[in-house]
């Protein structure tokens, strides 16, 4: 009698435990690929939930989500797109928060081109400055705001080449086709410092903060793994990973 009761209790706990381990489909902004892979691995280890990740551009994810893509959590590259989805009642209300704040750097693949204060911009002694398309990428908007603050918008207009996203912008600069590029610190940071080339970390007061917001989508309502992941992103462990990739947190 006693033994069977214990058995039932054990079975109950076991199945209960199984039911709790859920899977969450996450749409992740391309610039957050590297840290998110690390975080997702830790998340699975620590919670037993599984996070399967899809990487892509925020605009494309928006179109896919609006057309029924099966994502439950969205880690966007900006704060506007999640807010827009929220207004369109495509999200779980109150779930949105800023998981990372991007840092803009002026970077060159050449080791001695960029000085510590970014004076190379005013010098104008270069052919191309790569900037992410400001219409599409928050880093592009921040770069244009920085140029405006420096009073260089008109002077450098003819030298600007646009990447469709921050990854392509980095590619233009990394291949040397553009001597200079406004890229994400997370792209040039290796093991907590800037690995190659030369860079000027643009002070945060030069532009609006590059907020990246996360949100649970309507699809993820009641999904335990989705809620757990959102909580997990705020843990000191996750925050440390996010910071090590050159992002700030709020």
């Amino acid at each position: 009698m006693k033994a069977s009761r214990i058995l039932v209790a054990m079975l109950f706990t076991l199945t209960g435990g199984l039911a709790q381990a859920e899977e969450v489909q996450v749409a992740v902004a391309a610039n957050f690929t590297a840290p998110m892979k690390v975080i997702a691995a830790d998340f699975e280890k620590d919670t037993g939930h599984k996070a399967s990740l899809a990487f892509g551009s925020t605009g494309k994810f928006y179109a896919q989500i609006k057309n029924g893509a099966p994502f439950q959590v969205f880690l966007a590259a900006d704060d506007e797109t999640p807010a827009k989805l929220e207004r369109e009642t495509m999200t779980v209300p109150g779930s949105r928060f800023t998981y990372a704040v991007g840092t803009l750097v002026l970077w060159s693949a050449k080791p001695d081109l960029v000085d510590a204060k970014g004076a190379v911009l005013a010098g104008g002694d270069f052919a191309h400055l790569a900037v992410a398309n400001p219409k599409l990428a928050p880093y592009g908007t921040a770069a244009m705001e920085t140029l405006a603050k420096l009073g260089l918008t008109d002077k450098l207009a003819s030298k600007i080449v646009q990447g469709e996203n921050i990854a392509q912008t980095y590619q233009f600069a990394a291949t040397g086709n553009a001597e200079l590029g406004f890229v994400a610190l997370s792209q040039v940071m290796k093991d907590g410092k800037i690995g190659q080339g030369s860079a000027w970390v643009v002070p945060a007061d030069m532009h609006q903060p590059i907020r990246q917001d996360a949100v649970i989508l309507a699809n993820g309502k009641g999904n335990a793994a989705a809620e757990a992941l959102m909580k997990y992103l705020k843990t000191p462990k996750a925050v440390a990973i996010i910071k090590s990739y050159g992002y700030a947190v709020q």
Binding site: S57, G59, K60, Y62, A63, K84, A127, H128, A130, N133, K135, L136, I160, V161, Q162, G163, E164, Q168, Q171, F172, T175, G176, N177, A178
Partner: protein
Amino acid sequence: MTLTDADLSAIRLTLELAGLTTALLLVVGTPIAWWLARTRSWLKTPVGSIVTLPLVLPPTVLGFYLLVAMGPEGLLGKATQAMGLGLLPFTFTGLVLASVIYSMPFVVQPLQNAFEAIGDRPLEVAATLRASPLDTFFSVVVPLARPGFLTAAILSFAHTVGEFGVVLMIGGNIEDKTRVVSVQIYNHVEALEYGEAHWLAGGMLLFSFLVLMAVNAFGPDKTRRQA
């Protein structure tokens, strides 16, 4: 009409790019196709394969290697800099060069097929009438291969208009210089401007349909039946 100035500029640029690419390809592609159609050299297979590569390679591969090759560290980039042309990425010239490579198989293959279909006989007849090889080519081969030339021109024009990945990788999205229609559509969609995107995308759909209609109307089969 809700086409903006930027849209119109992209359309004009696309037509210029496709027109120039087609003209250049007919000049460059004809001798290649003629050689491929007539040669017995062991080089025929490797050369034919290289010319066909852009057909199977993802544009991202082609675009990426062109970006690297045309860059300051690349062979092509070093050559253009030595010639005083500067670097080709982010320029219209760079796009033309990339498009010529990208659309090459669409010119060479129909021409090669057309040349092969002519066979030896008309050339031998021309030779017995003492026509020089060049005279034979322009008076005999070109008229006989006319459907092939038409197909090649239409396909390379259309394929260049539809080019996206390569332009994206080496263009830099500069208005009036490298921002073509397909990139402009991508910009509209990514910026969630679906209304603007529909105008251009719908236009592209209609254009592509008309082009294929034209290819089918002028295609070799049709002409032979009429002849």
